[in-house]
């Protein structure tokens, strides 16, 4: 009997890669895609790496594919933008061994800066897209994606969403198939995309999409379920589950391949049902196409393009059921915050005191935008902190940025911060850049990178020396400082922002959530010393609570003894004791 296991969607994607005989996997961590690589690394048959960014990851996978093995890259939706350059052109080149890009979208933006739909990118890049709807399909579609990739000589996108990636369901495990190892033969018409060759390949790409669309009528991943024909749905991905939950008796055309579309299948299905609904999360990707064919259907007229879908949505909008719900209680919001003992809080409390604005970046430290720290003014995308600060200076002059810094994490600096910093030096900028070096990729759950000294597969490697790297760019002012040295940091920031030169301050202190870190101290209030001034509460540490009488308590299960509250207390009313 084959083994069944409960698996996270991302774990199932990794299993699918294993069973498909994948040899090489490259990725940059990003919610909701991270656990794919974290599970792939459990299969020693696969070489798996964290690349510095998604473009590099995509290119590593392309190289592996050209050499003749099955390869994949995985990333979150915004990472697909970073990887867009190689993606759009490998769509022309095609593959040798199968090539799959797993793109993880985030409807509802649980952990993202935008809500873009990767299927739009796929259409523009002329790359086919598969959409699984549960963990079992996540695994099965991965394998099918590699078959399609090799059969049609195309990279294939497997599109997942947060809800699928982070849901668990049963998966039947199968054996790993014999990995393909196709002989590499020099073929510049296919793999050197200079204009003459690319013109020929563009013709091929257009024909490939037509062929796939034609063949998709028979593809088993597009499935017609005829039940009551009063209502029919065309749907895909997790949205299919909401249809099955709310309207189990409706007829459904479940699309597994959402680009290119099985036109004949869709037309036949549409002819069989009285009212046709198109139920797809985010953009009306196939709805627009179906409408363009003159097929009458209802979609985004009643279903939103924002956020996640649900079964209740269908009960209200389609079944017109009165869903009587009790109202949610009006309660204080609980937004995510920096952890107790987080070194970012220390740096931000200094910036806040100095009334310095920060051009921000992507990471836990984005949380410095909100009260009470209120330091980060801008957050656009990975690596943008340094370049936006540079742009501000070029627009308004060097004195304008004397009360500005750029803040960027170590992993984000390795991702795309390095080139921004190079640009600042090259184009005579004068900005101050603070690299918040907590020795990990924090927000996504602690992945290694080139400056941590360890690879995804656990190899010990030389640590990329960030100060030396900055110096090699020609920056004279490169200073490392402990993130919790608030006195030294205050002095240093004042000095560096005043200079008419590029400065890099590297605040070093590990993320408190790194596994194995032990904290030897805890802070606690000193009996009778508190004057109820509330200063210790200013940095917004969640281990501290104000008591009804105005004094404070410190939750000993949360406190890591960083001592930042002690730095803020002028009355020695908090002491540090052994944990």
């Amino acid at each position: 009997m084959s083994e069944m296991k409960i698996m996270l969607g991302n774990e199932a994607i990794a299993r699918g890669a294993f069973e498909a005989g994948v040899k090489v996997s490259a990725a940059y961590p990003g919610t909701p895609s991270t656990e794919i690589s974290e599970n792939i690394v459990n299969y020693p048959e696969i070489y798996a790496e964290w690349s510095p960014n998604e473009k590099v990851a995509m290119e590593v996978a392309i190289g592996a594919s050209i050499s003749g093995v099955r390869a994949m890259a995985s990333m979150k939706h915004v990472g697909v933008n970073v990887a867009a350059d190689p993606l759009y052109t490998v769509a022309y080149s095609g593959v040798n061994g199968g090539l799959v890009l797993v793109a993880a979208d985030d409807p509802g933006m649980y952990s993202s800066q935008n809500e873009q739909d990767s299927r739009c990118v796929a259409r523009a890049a002329m790359v086919p897209v598969l959409e699984p709807s549960d963990s079992q399909e996540a695994k099965d579609f991965m394998k099918y994606a590699f078959e399609l990739s090799e059969k049609y000589d195309t990279p294939v996108i497997l599109r997942t969403t947060t809800r699928l990636s982070h849901s668990q369901g049963p998966v039947t495990l199968e054996e790993r198939c014999e990995p393909v190892d196709i002989t590499y033969e020099r073929n510049i018409g296919k793999f050197v995309m200079m204009p003459g060759n690319a013109k020929q390949r563009h013709l091929f790409v257009e024909q490939r999409l037509k062929d796939m669309a034609e063949d998709s009528y028979h593809m088993p991943i597009n499935r017609v379920e005829i039940n009551d024909t009063k209502i029919g749905f065309i749907t895909s991905g997790i949205a299919y589950q909401y249809v099955k939950e709310a309207c189990p008796n409706a007829s459904v055309l479940k699309l597994g391949l959402v680009h290119p579309l099985p036109r004949k299948l869709i037309e036949e299905f549409a002819a069989q049902v009285e009212t046709l609904y198109i139920f797809e999360e985010l953009e009306p990707v196939y709805e627009e196409q179906i409408k363009a064919w003159g097929i009458s259907c209802i979609g985004k007229e009643i279903f939103t393009v924002q956020g996640e879908y649900s079964a209740n949505m269908l009960r209200k909008a389609v079944l017109k059921e009165e869903v009587s719900l009790s109202a949610a209680a009006q309660v204080p919001a609980r937004p995510p915050i920096l952890c107790p003992g987080c070194p970012h809080r220390s740096v931000y409390s200094v910036l806040n005191k100095l009334k310095i604005h920060a051009a921000g970046d992507i990471g836990c430290y984005t949380l410095g935008a909100v009260a009470p720290l209120s330091v980060v003014d801008t957050t656009i995308c990975m690596g943008a902190s340094i370049s936006t600060l540079h742009g501000m200076e070029k627009a308004k002059g060097k004195d304008y940025i004397k009360n500005w810094v750029a803040v960027i994490g170590d992993s984000t600096f390795m991702h795309t911060g390095i080139n921004s910093l190079m640009n600042m030096v090259y184009n005579q900028g004068t900005g101050t850049v603070i690299i918040l070096d907590n020795s990990t990729t924090g927000m996504t759950g602690h992945q290694d990178h080139a400056a941590t000294g360890k690879t995804l597969m656990g190899a010990e490697v030389p640590i990329m020396d960030i100060p030396l790297l900055c110096k090699a760019m020609g920056i004279k002012n490169v200073v490392e400082i402990n993130a919790f040295d608030v006195v030294g940091l205050e002095k240093l920031i004042k000095e560096e922002v005043a200079k008419d030169e590029v400065s890099v301050i590297i605040t070093k202190s590990p993320c408190v959530l790194i596994k194995g870190l032990k904290f030897e101290h805890k802070c606690r209030p000193v009996e009778g010393k508190c004057v109820k001034c509330g200063m210790c509460l200013k940095p917004g540490c969640s281990a501290l609570t104000k008591n009804p009488d105005g004094t404070i308590s410190i939750d000993e299960t949360l406190c890591n003894g960083c001592g930042l509250c002690m730095d803020f207390c002028k009355f020695e009313a908090i002491e540090r004791v052994e944990a």
Binding site: P170, Y242, S310, P336, C339, L367, L537, T545
Partner: protein, 191 residues
């Protein structure tokens, strides 16, 4: 086996161990032959934010989330979070709440007030079972197992046997912590 799908929610503050708890729940449902789906929160929201995990089990489960008005059991690791998600309960749904207060940043900064008398308020509308699990966990000598104590209390309202629970705990938690977690679970289950 119950045919009707059962809907369980685990709510709390990022870092309180909702994931471990939901995995134990997921494990027990499959061990006993149910179809199951779980939905979790990873990433930024985990950083001290409000987190919710859904567990659905039955003969055949389609959607992985529990929607408003559908939860049979709401397991809350923190009082404010119990209140935040109480409207997800069915009319005859049960709340198991840990009597712990963790102030959200909005309360720490004075922008909002932590609601008074949360449990008394919830008791007016729902069946509420409360436990000061942190206090109990400290008595056991390990504050981190408070969530398993809460799960033990919740287990009183589910149909699985004690043996099945202990077996799945053994499989799910880190090997070194098996005994401590079993003890914590039994404390919750049997009082």
């Amino acid at each position: 086996m119950e045919k009707q799908t059962r809907n369980i929610m685990i709510v709390g503050v990022g870092g309180q161990g909702t994931l471990l708890t939901s995995r134990i729940l997921g494990g027990i449902t499959t061990d006993t032959g149910y179809d199951v789906k779980l939905s979790e929160v990873h990433g930024m929201a985990q950083r001290g934010g409000s987190v919710v995990t859904f567990v659905r089990y039955g003969e055949k489960v389609a959607e992985p989330i529990v929607e408003e008005g559908q939860a049979d059991v709401l397991i809350a690791f923190e009082m404010l979070e119990a209140l935040r998600y109480a409207h997800f309960l069915k009319k005859d749904g049960v709340i198991v709440v840990n009597e712990q207060r963790i102030d959200p940043i909005t309360v720490v900064t004075g922008a909002a007030e932590y609601p008074a008398e949360i449990i008394a308020g919830l008791e007016k509308e729902h069946k509420v079972f409360r436990i000061n699990a942190m206090e109990e966990a400290l008595k056991l000598g390990n504050s981190r197992v408070f969530n398993i104590i809460v799960l033990g209390v919740a287990a009183r309202h589910m149909e699985f046997s004690k043996e099945a629970w202990l077996k799945v705990i053994e499989k799910t938690v880190p090997p070194k912590t098996v005994e401590m977690n079993k003890k914590a679970f039994l404390l919750g289950l049997e009082g």
